[in-house]
């Protein structure tokens, strides 16, 4: 069983994240990291590969530093890594990114069949969660997003996910190959150990360009983006802030303040 995991390099959410004058997330602050939610995707893929004698390939699209994201995947135990690196990718929206990833998955599939594509539930930068479903559409594969539980039946050639939506819980199933996204409820990601970190240094990272993948640059990046950020500004600091130490009547004072603010 061959599993491709799509991962993203994002600014660390503990850092002071910013947007640039172009409205894009600033990605060169030097504190980027593997999107935390993608660690659950890598873990899910590694677990399945261990259960079903498979192999995991980590795949990312992004600037030079993005290689750190796939390196982390290799350290966790993935066998190989692919980094799509091309200046024309910059400025891609979710659909543009999905277009590049879909082309890369097809490229990998042509070399050796891919049975499953796994992603995290969302990128903690844009947080649109559009990508997993868009990727399934672009690959013309069934997509089963937001798995809190994920099982594969290799005999039947099916994948089943249990998921929790806003108002309901669902169980979905489809034939492989398929695209699945996993939530942070799915598992507890393993930490790379010393052996894994040393082994990762010897594992290959293949770098591919849009030309290698046969992707028309006009369909991705800024050129292919369907939305345009006109303005971006830090939210103004909150004013008239009140901080009190409770001396016995703080609850009463809070209620009065809420009434005064017309919130009650």
């Amino acid at each position: 069983m061959r599993i491709v995991v799509c991962v993203k390099f994002v600014p660390d959410i503990q850092s002071d994240r910013q947007l640039g004058p172009d409205g894009r997330v600033v990605r060169d602050l030097g504190d980027g990291t593997l999107n935390e939610l993608d660690e659950n995707a890598v873990e899910a893929a590694l677990t399945l590969a261990e259960e079903h004698d498979g192999e995991v390939v980590v795949l990312t699209v992004g600037p030079d530093d993005a290689v750190d994201a796939v390196r982390k995947g290799l350290q966790m135990g993935a066998a190989q890594a692919v980094h799509v690196l091309d200046d024309d990718v910059a400025g891609s929206d979710a659909i543009g990114t999905a277009t590049v990833l879909a082309a890369a998955v097809r490229h990998l599939h042509a070399a050796e069949p891919v049975d499953l594509v796994v992603t995290g539930m969302a990128g903690l930068d844009g947080l649109t969660s559009l990508l997993p479903t868009a990727l399934g559409e672009l690959l013309d594969l069934p997509s089963l997003p937001l798995a809190a539980r994920l099982t594969v039946d290799p005999g039947a050639g099916t994948v089943t996910v249990e998921r929790r939506l806003d108002h309901a819980s669902e169980t979905l199933t489809a034939a492989l190959p398929a695209v699945v996204s996993v939530t942070d409820q799915a598992n507890a990601p393993r930490y790379p150990n010393f052996k894994g970190i040393m082994a990762a240094k010897k594992k290959p990272v293949t770098t591919l360009t849009l030309a290698d993948l046969g992707v028309d640059p006009a369909t991705v990046g800024t050129a292919g983006a369907r939305t345009q950020v006109l303005a971006a500004a830090p939210r103004p600091p909150r004013e008239d802030r009140v901080l009190v130490q409770d001396t016995g009547d703080a609850g009463t004072r809070l209620a009065a303040w809420l009434v005064e603010q017309k919130l009650v």
Binding site: L19, A122, T133, H167, S169, A175, T227, R235, Q245, A250
Partner: protein, 328 residues
């Protein structure tokens, strides 16, 4: 009149009741429609009748009821129907509530139709002939204005983005069946089981105007949190720690990976304000924090912070709110 309609996907419960954010979507749809009709789309087998009085008051001209020989809970089947309606009506804008399901529908439609999509918008306007969505990003710390540059726009709108208001003139919406040509691709995913979550009797967490949240500081006792929530007519939420400890269901988890809320009033009790939690609530209108630890990071973003014991502060506040309410 030749103007094409604005479509709104009518999110509703299994009994046919519209979910509260739909009124906000319809209000927003009218403001950008510039006189063009607003049409609803009903995806599901529930009876549309209970929703009609609200749709009439909102000035909805027509409701397209999707009819399919496949499960309309599957996002791919809904996307099939909506794609066909966008074609048939020539609509340039489709509004959806910001739910996980809606985002799946939007992602599929964006790929199939070439439409531009903005998720989690908290405002929408037409500027220089283009649709411009407003949204808060990076855990509520930045605001952006984003134009959609394609002929068809898909926008998911957060609850509490705008106050809902009825149309100046009510309508009598016509209900028309819209048979869906279900694509072969949509039949590949099977819905094995679906369990609707029972209603709690409190407002829905994702769309409530007031949310009271309990964290580690509750030590598992949510009764003061529930008491204040009920006094304020609000919903009850929780931090990741509280749900992981099993003190309350995972459905209550607020955060970037749980429910994202932007109520008028957020009250955090015993909530430290870890970055994951802030990402799910920092866009709230007014933030109140009650915590025994004066160094809790939530105080950095609180409009009103109380360093104190939630077990005395919350019941006192709830009692005072009830007393002031009773006074009128």
């Amino acid at each position: 009149m030749t103007a094409t309609p604005v479509l709104v996907l009518l999110d509703h419960a299994a009994d046919g009741t519209l979910r509260p954010p739909v009124r906000e979507l319809l209000t927003l749809a009218r403001t950008v429609a510039d006189g063009a009709p607003v049409h609803g789309v009903w995806a599901g087998t529930a009876d549309v009748a209970p929703a009609l009085p609200v749709l009439a008051a909102q000035g909805v001209a027509a409701v397209h009821r999707l009819v399919a020989d496949a499960d309309l809970h599957l996002s791919s089947v809904v996307a099939d129907g909506l794609g066909q309606l966008l074609d048939a009506t020539g609509a340039g804008l489709l509004l959806l509530v910001s739910s996980f399901e809606s985002k799946e529908v939007a992602a599929r439609l964006a790929v199939r139709t070439g439409a531009g999509v903005v998720t989690d918008a908290d405002g929408l306007e037409v500027a220089d002939g283009r649709l411009v969505a407003r949204k808060t990003v990076l855990a509520g710390t930045w605001t952006t204005r984003c134009a959609i540059t394609t002929p068809v726009a898909l926008v998911t709108v957060k609850a509490n983005a705008v106050p809902a208001a009825d149309a100046p003139a009510a309508t009598e919406p016509t209900v028309v069946d819209a048979p869906v040509q279900v694509s072969a691709a949509s039949r590949r995913v099977q819905l094995v089981e679906r369990t609707e979550r029972p209603a709690s009797g409190r407002p829905d967490l994702g769309s409530a105007h007031v949310v009271v949240v309990g964290g580690r500081g509750t030590e598992g006792d949510f009764s003061p949190v529930e008491d204040l929530a009920d006094a304020l007519g609000g919903a009850v939420g929780a931090t990741r720690v509280a749900t992981d400890e099993g003190w309350i269901g995972h459905d209550a988890q607020i955060g970037q990976t749980g429910v994202t809320v932007a109520p008028r009033l957020y009250v955090g009790a015993g909530v430290s304000g870890a970055v994951h939690h802030r990402g799910g609530m920092q866009a709230s209108g007014t933030i109140v924090a009650v915590n025994a630890d004066a160094d809790a990071p939530i105080f950095e973003i609180a409009d009103y912070g109380i360093v104190g014991d939630l077990f005395t502060v919350l019941p006192q506040a709830a009692a005072e709110v009830r007393r002031l309410r009773a006074q009128g």
